[in-house]
């Protein structure tokens, strides 16, 4: 009986890290998507911007996320004296990192559109901003939905790295229980079950959105 109660306590305690994990996930993906859209538009608008953005993408995809996170949390205060909260550092890191992947996903979504879509908008004298907002991006995002779902799942799993700088997410809380009771299997299994359940939920919603957008 006591064991069962303890298990339930552990499940609830580890589950209390979900909010932190979700804050990182939604903060990161929102920032990432916003930056990716801006980068994608700039990339197609100016050659100079395209070189800079290609370099940005190369660096953020070519270095470990844990290194980027450490730079934001540990190195930034030393360089410019800016002390970030763990959550802020996490959202910034995951957002900037995710932006690099999302920009590439959007680029492939745009490349899959016929070149004539831009030209059709031009011949109808649709302003550039509206062309992107109402003509190009809705189609590109729709074409990229499976990859966008994949990136969101990847980001969710990456948020576990916040535990390395002390963020009280699902992973950190399971590690805390593990350290307290000197038993690893059960807490890690509980954490894994939470992550897997969230991944299944994201997959379900992603497929639902894909289905709803399959009418054209």
């Amino acid at each position: 009986m006591e064991d069962r109660l303890m298990l339930l306590d552990n499940i609830l305690y580890i589950g209390s890290g979900i909010l932190f994990t979700l804050q990182l996930l939604f903060g990161g993906i929102s920032l990432g998507l916003l930056l990716a859209i801006v980068m994608t538009i700039l990339r197609y608008s100016s050659k100079c911007a395209s070189y800079i953005i290609t370099g940005y993408i190369s660096i953020f995809r070519g270095t470990p996320v844990i290194l980027q996170l450490s730079l934001f949390y540990f190195a930034l205060p030393q360089i410019i004296g800016l002390n970030l909260e763990i959550l802020t550092a996490g959202i910034l890191t995951f957002g900037l990192n995710s932006a690099a992947y999302l920009a590439e996903i959007l680029r492939s979504g745009i490349n899959s559109l016929p070149k004539g879509q831009f030209e059709a908008a031009q011949t109808l004298r649709i302003p550039l901003f509206k062309t992107w907002k109402d003509v190009i991006l809705p189609q590109a995002i729709r074409n990229s939905l499976p990859s966008l779902t994949g990136e969101m799942i990847a980001l969710l799993k990456e948020t576990a790295l916040i535990s390395t700088i002390g963020g009280l997410d699902i992973m950190r809380k399971s590690q805390g229980i593990a350290a307290e009771h000197f038993t690893y299997f059960t807490p890690l299994l509980i954490a894994g079950a939470y992550y897997y359940a969230m991944v299944l939920l994201i997959e379900f919603i992603g497929k639902k959105i894909e289905k709803n957008n399959a009418n054209y």
Binding site: P114, G116, Q117, E119, A120, Q122, T123, L124, R125, I126, P127, K130, D134, V135, P138, Q139, R142, N215, Y216
Partner: protein, 217 residues
């Protein structure tokens, strides 16, 4: 309506248009014929401003619209949205729905207003593309291969359709491989060959315009 003077266009050191001079009066239909690669589509794209020129001048009075060979409807918008989206941006206070509905009725596809382009046949898509151009009230309508992929019966309908919308001072330039179609619809046909105007005929004044045109292929 449109005056083209000594138009030159090269692409990768290959001359596409070599000093084209052309005048298109208001309310007329000009046919552009010629072998593949003769510069028909390039000339249309240049007039629309989609491609740049190397030399020469183009003077066009009024607005120009372009009908693409593959229509380029916006697949995520239904027929009505495709038609009213662009004019509604320029004139947000105006309700274009009634106007669009009238155009669709005139083109015989008023029942398709809520359909998405993927659910339409080639002929229906073309009509939507035409309605999308006409609602912009162009002075010059450029059509690139409007009959490609259409069956014979539909091509005849297209002839009637384009003739019915031309007039009211709207001019058309139609690039096509289909000489039969061009002779039925155009007031005048020019044949482009190796970047030059190889022939300039008026089908109504020729006994056998198709064979006359074929000599230049």
């Amino acid at each position: 309506m449109l005056t083209i003077d000594k138009l030159h266009k090269t692409f990768n050191n290959h001359t596409i248009l070599n000093g084209i001079d052309l005048k298109v009066p208001s309310g007329s239909i000009l046919g552009l014929a010629g072998p593949s690669g003769s510069g028909k589509s390039t000339l249309l794209r240049i007039i629309q401003g989609l491609d740049s020129i190397d030399q020469g001048t183009i003077t066009c009075k009024g607005t120009v619209c372009f009908m693409f060979q593959d229509f380029q409807l916006f697949p995520h918008m239904n027929v009505m949205q495709n038609i009213i989206y662009a004019p509604s941006i320029r004139n947000p206070g105006h309700d274009y729905k009634k106007e669009a509905q009238k155009l669709l009725a005139k083109l015989g596809i008023d029942s398709k207003a809520d359909s998405f382009p993927s659910k339409l046949s080639g002929g229906q898509k073309q009509r939507v593309a035409l309605a999308r151009s006409l609602i912009m009230k162009p002075d010059l309508l450029l059509c690139d291969e409007p009959t490609s992929g259409l069956d014979v019966a539909t091509i005849d309908e297209v002839v009637e359709l384009l003739k019915s919308v031309c007039g009211n001072n709207m001019s058309m330039i139609i690039a096509s491989h289909d000489l039969d179609f061009l002779t039925k619809i155009a007031d005048r046909i020019i044949v482009l060959k190796e970047g030059n105007i190889a022939a300039d005929i008026e089908p109504s004044k020729s006994k056998n315009p198709i064979s006359q045109l074929k000599e230049y292929y």
